[in-house]
Symmetry: C2
Subunit: 209 residues, 2 copies
DNA sequence: TATTTTTTTGACCATTTGGAAAAACACTTG
DNA sequence: CAAGTGTTTTTCCAAATGGTCAAAAAAATA
């Protein structure tokens, strides 16, 4: 009788429908931005009526919030995997590869994140200054020690990380531009493969001690 | 008696007000996206009433379109300046510097552009596949010849250009994230200077023949 | 100063949109 | 089957928003 809202799903139908809604919302939000998306669009994409959707999430904001929260976990994972005891250049190449794969396989998530940052991260600020900063500081420390041990060339570790984020996410966030510039032949599915090759070679050259 | 709309400004007042409107609109659009911005917001930021604003631009779309058109010219300029007869590494370093300066001095323009790309470039497609692609192809040719002449290291010229776009624009588009991660001390005004230094050194190392 | 042209305002409107309420329906379980 | 619980639909609403229009006010011009 009462709305379900943000409580944990209790029934099979709740789990299913909430999932379908979130998936549809990811489509719509990542394509049109938060204000550019309507509940009706999301509901239609999820194959249900608006009031029905609002039975599972009590507001547009709540859908978005849920999406953003999940996103942040996905976002942090690849960086966390960098292993101080691994071979430095291989660790960095692996990180780049994982990030390019994310651009290829999760472009909607990437764009949702980009949108959030672009508009000042109103719902993400806390986490940026908290978990994200901590993790980046930690990994920057790893890079710095690698540099001191002459395992990789010396440079600013924070900006190094920024550059990896930027170059890899570019292929999801600016996908239209990339495809337009590469043209029909080179802009096909192979573009991620080409990008990964370019970036791996490029970073290897730049960071070789 | 008639609305002014897209005709060229005829009076002093028209030139002034249109300018004020475009400046305000750049603020609002770059911060909230197209659908996230209202004519009222823009009008208020421009210090006039909504109907008054609509006397100078006949619709929200027209303001946006005007802004986007100007943007594209600004956007192409720095790349066009790369000179095939210059010293390759210095030319590339100069391009990076100009792009970083744009992120520092024209962040609103950068974000407006990013927003447009993120949402599929509905109003820019033609120009991406036309002018932009042509210019990039041309400069990719320059890079390729430099590589053949062993003046810079061999790599994919298109992806090289993408990487420069990505790394430099990142400091405008993801400004919140950059500042949050760098923290209060390192995230101050010096961040663009640090970024420029990092990128210049990085690209020089990677491209040194 | 009188007249014409440009600019500004105030009132208004149609549509879209986020969301509420309650009745109708479906499913499970005693 | 009856009764409760969970789900869906129908109807509705208030606020926000893009945009219009005619009249008033200001400028420019004769």
């Amino acid at each position: 009788m009462m709305a379900i809202a943000q409580t944990k799903p209790r029934t099979r139908i709740q789990a299913e429908k909430r999932k379908r809604i979130l998936d549809a919302a990811l489509d719509i939000f990542s394509e049109n931005g938060f204000r550019g998306s309507t509940i009706d669009q999301i509901a239609e994409a999820a194959g249900m009526s608006k009031p029905n959707l609002l039975y599972y999430f009590k507001s547009k904001d709540e859908i978005h919030e849920t999406l953003i929260h999940r996103l942040l976990e996905i976002w942090l994972a690849p960086l966390a995997e960098i292993d101080e005891n691994g071979e430095p250049l291989a660790e960095i190449a692996g990180y780049i590869r994982r990030k390019i794969e994310m651009s290829r396989d999760l472009p909607r998530e990437s764009r949702l994140f980009a949108n959030e940052m672009l508009h000042g991260a109103p719902r993400t600020m806390g986490m940026l200054e908290g978990e994200l900063k901590s993790l980046v500081d930690e990994k920057a420390g790893v890079f710095r020690r690698w540099m001191q041990q002459k395992k990789i060339a010396k440079c600013d570790p924070w900006h190094l990380i920024f550059s990896i984020w930027a170059t890899t996410q570019h292929y999801a966030d600016f996908d239209v531009q990339v495809r337009a510039v590469l043209g029909p032949e080179r802009g096909g599915d192979g573009r991620f493969y080409d990008a990964a090759n370019f970036l791996e070679a490029f970073y290897t050259r730049a960071l070789k001690p």
